[in-house]
Amino acid sequence: MNSNQNTLFQGDQMKEAFKQSFIKLNPRILFRNPVMFTVEIGTAVMLIVSIYSFANKGQGSFAYNFTVFIVLFLTVLFANFAEAIAEARGKAQAESLRKTREETPARLLVNGKEQMVMSSQLKKGDVFICETGDNIPTDGEIIEGIATIDESAITGESAPVIRESGGDKSSVTGGTKVLSDKIKVMVTTQPGESFLDKMIALVEGASRQKTPNEIALTILLSGFTLIFVIVCVTLKPFGDYANTPITIAAFISLFVCLIPTTIGGLLSAIGIAGMDRALRANVITKSGKAVETAGDLDTLLLDKTGTITIGNRKATNFYPATGITRENFVAACVLSSLADETPEGKSIVELAHEDKTMPKVAAPQDSVFIKFTAETRSSGLDTPEGLRIRKGAFDSIRNIALKAGHPFPTEVEDNVKKISSNGGTPLVVSQNEQIMGVIELQDIIKPGIAERFERLRKMGVKTVMVTGDNPLTAKFIAEKAGVDDFIAEAKPEDKMNYIKKEQQGGKLVAMMGDGTNDAPALAQADVGVAMNSGTQAAKEAGNMVDLDNDPTKLIEIVEIGKQLLMTRGTLTTFSIANDVAKYFAIVPALFMVSIPSLKALNIMDLHSPESAILSAVIFNAIIIPMLIPLALRGVEYKPIGASALLRRNLLIYGLGGVLIPFIGIKLIDLAVGVFL
């Protein structure tokens, strides 16, 4: 999926948005937006006035009134269009994802027998089978088997991935393709209730809830609207007192120009665009609130592996204990790792094979492999000859040796410390409970990650590395990568405790996870991003799903959240700052005839009262479509510190908001003046 190059406006989206702008004129829909709703009322009044002025002269010429009506009508239409185009874009984005899951045949298992049905008939709890070459019909969880899967339709990543039952990578997504092997999959969602379906519904507006921050802003904007209701209504008796007749057109124009129509018209478009930007980053959000919260995050919990370091640790050195030959030690290492499918285990075998002088070792027949468990924190094998080789964390192997009455050699301990303090991971190997030596594993930190953390720090976001490593190793990597804190020797509940601790301190915490044991922490976190490859439980618990399974995605999500709030704030400022110039256009126009001294306020030297009022409303209308691109793209976030950012935005949108309409209104007046 390569949608990031999408241009802002596409033909079919424009057409749909155009249609929607008229449908949204329905007052019952528009009522949700108090600012634009009042403009619609004003428009309706102007229509009546236009008709009235056709026969009567009291309210100005028909042409003038009708022009005002048209401009106001356009204002509402433009605002509707902004919302509609944002919706159309979001929908198109979601649809392109949904297209990948068109009707495909599914091999449903009923009482152990295969039955061909269409994917849309699959219900939650159904079990289907997929084999090499099959398209996976819908989202589900593997309950049996292992397979390589091509997920490029969703992630754009061409390298196949392995999905298997039981582990944390048991989820499959509809529309992806099985490349090898056979899996049994249980359907996890009802038709029409997948995350994508929910997201589309969110964008479409029917189920779109205003976010808390959007509500607060709407209240403020309604407050401003009410102030200007008061200003305009009281102007009538003031005008009467001053013997200044004010036409209805002038009243309504003044009112519409003063209320914050610019932000009022763009507000919902900004919110939708935020979710849309998240979707473009291949993140499905379950609510608009989650995107907003992302901008406020204080703490990010990041797994070390895959996020901070490239993939996995690699063996880099063998350090045999005194009295143990290098050959014997390496042989023991290889034996202990032969059945170890972890990347670390494989890297040990690779390193041993690099040294051609070493004899090849193979595990004797009937050897018993001991799997790694969290309790023993070691693995290895027992041969039929009675050889017991163990490889594991320093303290667990030391316990084994000490229990059997063997000493732990000091030079091995020194090596362990040396490796740890260099950021490596020591793996101690024992044979028949006797210490053989240490293997050094090293992490490789991703290039550029330190700069990204620096950027986060400037945003005020604290990064926390979560790792199973011992504290010494963790500290070394943490310092090298530039994270602010780390959780070493982390167990799943440690993440949870850390999140709770941070939250008690008033902070907002985000984490990313994929495993079922991550689910409670994902639910506890303010923003929980589940990887799409993760288990269903993890995806249910979090409030976002990352289709790319990219752990650094959190950084992008934070910026998207910040952009969303900033766009709202700057456009509010711009909208209100505009009022200064509009006043200088309309107020002299209202009073110039009856109180000539107020001509002095006509600092823009506008052509006539009518052209001044028309110019102001026209400016007010066309600024909305002109700002749609900004609303959709979002204001650029720069991590330069809050005060500097405020200064920058105040200068651009505050001062700019005061000055631009002076220029705009004057230019429009020059054009309008030609016709009057």
């Binding site: 102030i227 910040k562 709030l565 704030g569 107020v587 809050a642 105040l650």
Partner: protein
């Protein structure tokens, strides 16, 4: 430099020099730290024991409001009854009659709410009893009410989550015993030795050189004038207020009155810094307020010193500036300084007639009251400012991409609702008031009322409109000064301004208290690099912009029809 101007600058610097240590003292008093007025403790203990108050019992913001509003209602009834009955009460050597119900209604409210609109004249409309036990009493308690309410907000801004915001009675009583009473005492002594009367005797008489018998009202003026300024009340003993030679005999008393009225509002800004240990924040607030003050002050002094072009056209020399309505002993620069200070600070006392000031000055005075928080009234100035801070925090928080927070507390829908209503209230009551009176004048000029609406205005046109606008602005801002020339001593004005005064006083106290109380109950979020700091000059600019935009945008058309039109018509 011109001695008039240096006198003004000296007065301001003297105010600052006194306000900073006073701010520190106020912070100590309310933090419960040792201070040089600890000898008042036995008196306070006696008051608390006598009233059965346990000052250790801390109150929530709602309990504070309940206490504040209850005691204020009691005072309102008390004042209303006394004013009606003053003719039958003692200490009435001049045998002045009781006030009519509508005047008593207006007067009682106006003193209760620290406004002091005074639709009566002190010489004939009040007695020594009501001057003392109603006006002077309310001068003290209304100022103390404002200070106590502000201290509740200070307390709520501390960074722990709490529902317990101290004891209202404790704050209230200490505002009087440790701040208002001792300072008033010193000021009153200065006044007494400079020619203000302190006698309880009735009117004095003398025969003028023309042979007329002249009655001169007097009374124990010095004591009242001290708290009248210190408490930013402004309700004078005499109708002419501080332009009256007995109420403001010389330049020294004039300077003392000027310093006294600005003292507590400025000191409270510094007290905020000392109390919360956020000095930088208080400097930002002080900076914003001072720039605002200068913005109104400089054009006013300039306009008054340059004189009236219309008079210049008549060939009259105006070397001393625009002297109409001014006291020769104070001069135009000092009078302009007083006019701006008294309007931004909500005192509302006058030493010149605002109605006669240049239209530019009138615009500035009106703007001062429309903003009503550049220093502002005793306690309430910062409460008004607080609302603008909340709005500024909200908008600027969004502008930096973070849910807005103020001192570690998130500002959400509920707070915004309250802030919007309070920000809305001021334009609402002023504009609606002025609209009603305009309507009445245009559509029912001959109504058979005590005073016909057509006879309300001494000046037609823009100036007449400015008079009405001024009256409601002054009432809403609880200022109390007047563009005289408006016939406001009748039922229509007494009732409408009375309602405006009550709304303009209590809602702007309830709003900030509620917001502060709600915020104090929220989770405290420690600051990070992404948090917008509220103690920077950038944020100061933001607050300033919010204040000016809200005030300017809501009142621009009204001002254009009043003093601005008048200004441009002066040729």
């Amino acid at each position: 430099m011109n001695t008039e101007i240096s006198g003004v600058i000296f007065t301001y610097l003297l105010t600052l020099a006194l306000a900073i240590p006073l701010g520190r003292h106020i912070a100590r008093v309310f933090k419960g730290e040792k201070n040089w007025l600890d000898f008042m403790a036995p008196l306070e203990r006696f008051i608390f024991r006598f009233s059965g108050i346990d000052t250790k019992k801390e109150m929530s913001w709602k309990q504070h409001l309940f206490a504040l509003l209850t005691i204020n209602s009691v005072w309102l009834i008390y004042a209303f009854v006394c004013l009606m009955a003053q003719g039958h009460l003692p200490l009435n050597p001049d045998a002045n009659p009781g006030q009519s119900p509508d005047t008593a209604f207006n007067t009682a409210i106006s003193f209760l709410v620290n406004c002091n609109l005074q639709h009566y004249s002190g010489e004939s409309g009040a007695t020594y009893f009501t001057q003392h036990f109603v006006f002077m009493f309310l001068h003290f308690v209304s100022a103390a009410t404002g200070i106590a309410a502000l201290i509740v907000v200070f307390r709520a801004m501390k960074d722990k989550i709490t529902d317990k915001l101290g004891n209202f009675w404790d704050y209230f009583v200490k505002s009087i015993t440790r701040i208002l009473l001792p300072i008033s005492f010193v000021i009153a002594v200065i006044f007494a030795f400079n020619g203000m009367t302190t006698s309880y005797a009735g009117k004095d008489t003398f025969i003028s050189m023309q042979g007329d018998t002249v009655h001169v009202s007097r009374g124990p003026v010095a004591a009242l004038v001290a708290i009248k300024h210190l408490g930013t009340n402004g309700g004078g003993w005499f109708g002419a207020n501080s332009a009256h030679p007995i109420e403001n005999p010389n330049y020294l008393t004039n300077t003392t009155e000027l310093v006294a009225q600005c003292l507590i509002p400025i000191a409270l800004v510094f007290a905020l810094g000392f109390y919360l240990n956020k000095k930088k924040f208080s400097y930002v607030i002080f900076g914003v307020m001072t720039i605002g003050m200068l913005l109104f002050m400089i054009p006013t002094i300039n306009a008054e010193l340059n004189g009236n072009p219309a008079i210049a056209h008549m060939g009259v020399s105006q070397t001393t500036g625009a002297m109409e309505g001014k006291e020769v002993r104070f001069g135009p620069a000092n009078s302009a300084y007083w006019s701006v200070m008294t309007t931004i600070i909500s005192t509302g006392s006058v030493n010149s007639m605002h109605d006669s000031a240049m239209p530019m000055s009138g615009t500035m005075m009106l703007m001062g009251m429309m903003v009503n928080c550049f220093y502002g009234g005793c306690g309430v100035g910062i409460l008004n400012f607080y609302i603008f801070i909340i709005i500024a925090v909200f908008i600027s928080g969004l502008m930096v991409g973070r849910t807005p927070e103020f001192f570690g507390r998130k500002i959400e829908a509920r707070e915004m609702k309250i802030a919007s209503i309070i920000a809305l209230l001021h334009p609402f009551i002023i504009l609606v008031g002025a609209a009603i009176s305009s309507y009445v004048i245009v559509h029912m000029p001959g109504a058979d009322w005590a005073v016909k609406p057509s006879a309300w205005l001494n000046n037609p046109g823009n100036h007449g409109f400015a008079e009405m606008l001024y009256e409601y602005t002054s009432s809403a801002a609880n200022n109390g000064s007047g563009f005289e020339g408006l016939g406001d001593g009748n039922i229509f004005w007494n009732v409408t301004t009375g309602i405006v005064m009550v709304l303009g006083r209590f809602l702007p106290i309830i709003g900030p208290l509620a917001i502060a109380g709600l915020l104090a109950n929220k989770k405290f979020i420690p600051a990070s690099a992404g948090t917008l700091k509220s103690d920077t000059s950038t944020f100061g600019i933001m607050i300033f912009a919010v204040i000016m935009i809200i005030a300017a945008l809501s009142f621009f058309p009204a001002l254009a029809l009043g003093p601005i039109a008048e200004h441009f018509s002066l040729k």
